[in-house]
Subunit: 115 residues, 2 copies
Amino acid sequence: MVQHSTRSIDRVMAAIADPTRRAILERLARGPARISDIAEPFPMSLTGFCKHVRVLERARLVRRTRRGRENTLELSPEPLRAVADWVLNYEHFWNERLDRLESFFAKEREKEKPR
Amino acid sequence: MVQHSTRSIDRVMAAIADPTRRAILERLARGPARISDIAEPFPMSLTGFCKHVRVLERARLVRRTRRGRENTLELSPEPLRAVADWVLNYEHFWNERLDRLESFFAKEREKEKPR
């Protein structure tokens, strides 16, 4: 029941728990880019930025390739699928709540009907 | 662009990155339960277990209520919705890959057709 803590999904969830790392993934969703270009808008040192990149690499969420003199990053979205699968197990809770709200408003409308 | 790291979604993602905490949520998806009953199958001290519960409480994923002499936990799945919303932005990447596979097999079937 309790799995070992270094499983892939644990690493992926820990990786996306950080807003900088989510922003990197969001940037790469628009296409591959050079590390220095991705780093530019972030208010941190390139060293600090590269630590975030390494966390994403270990979670297999990005791939690094060398093009000419610079490293290029590419999104590797596949591991996010396990997160989606897990979290969507809870989707029916929101849907049930929506169903209850919907039936509440349906009853309210019924009450307001002229007789 | 870069948000502060104590945002709700960061806490929620960090909370679900641990397999023990995911297992607690999975248990509570079947209904509320007493803390000692939920703790029982986990190979750890009650103190260690309660630390995990506090992480889930801070992420607002569980609610604790006092019933008689014991604390009862209840699932509060609403914060998971933000995780689902974020991760489903990447769904089209998997779907595109499936579409490409599908069209590959469609072409293969076309080739095999008797003329």
